[in-house]
Symmetry: C2
Subunit: 105 residues, 2 copies
């Protein structure tokens, strides 16, 4: 997928994963792998940003003697995803515009 387009989906994919329950970095990457690839150096900065924006909250937890940062979706973050989904019709319209232009040729 075009890298530029991909950027538009990244953060919403992360928020969607958290909708299913609190999770942490490494797990999120694995959960997303099937739908969208994301290296650690991309995920963690986005999580930090989302936290600063109040779309997720963060709490540490111990698992197997290892520390994990669990992220939790807030109401703000949830509302964000809802808004995002509503944009899909606009996206479809753009695809249709491009497709029609191509057929015309």
């Amino acid at each position: 997928m075009s890298p530029q387009l991909k950027k538009g989906f990244l953060e919403y994919c992360i928020l969607a994963v958290l909708e299913r329950g609190d999770s942490y970095g490494y797990q999120i990457i694995k959960d997303l792998a099937a739908v969208i690839a994301m290296p650690e150096s991309t995920l963690y900065p986005i999580l930090k940003r989302l936290e600063k924006q109040g779309k997720v909250t963060c709490h540490n937890e111990l698992a197997d003697g290892r520390n994990r940062k669990y992220y939790h979706l807030t109401a703000t973050g949830q509302a964000d995803v809802v808004d995002f989904l509503q944009e899909q019709t606009e996206v479809e319209r753009i695809y249709q515009f491009i497709r029609e232009a191509m057929e015309h040729a």
Copy 2:
């Protein structure tokens, strides 16, 4: 629309317009206005980039005593749009992934 997502569509919208025939900056903006808003300070740099990448070619022409830069879509640029359209299924899959996550909650 989320600005980040919008970025992913801009250049393909421009290429699509040129598919219908050679055009120039000001006209392209007007043609796109209905589907996607784009200020001049966004369009012209993109056109320059597309030219450097060989996706469009450029030739000057006089119209009403005014000089115009006409842009022409190349085969490379055309192939690009075709590729882009084929990514739509992937985009749909992402939307479905997010939608399912939201419903699950």
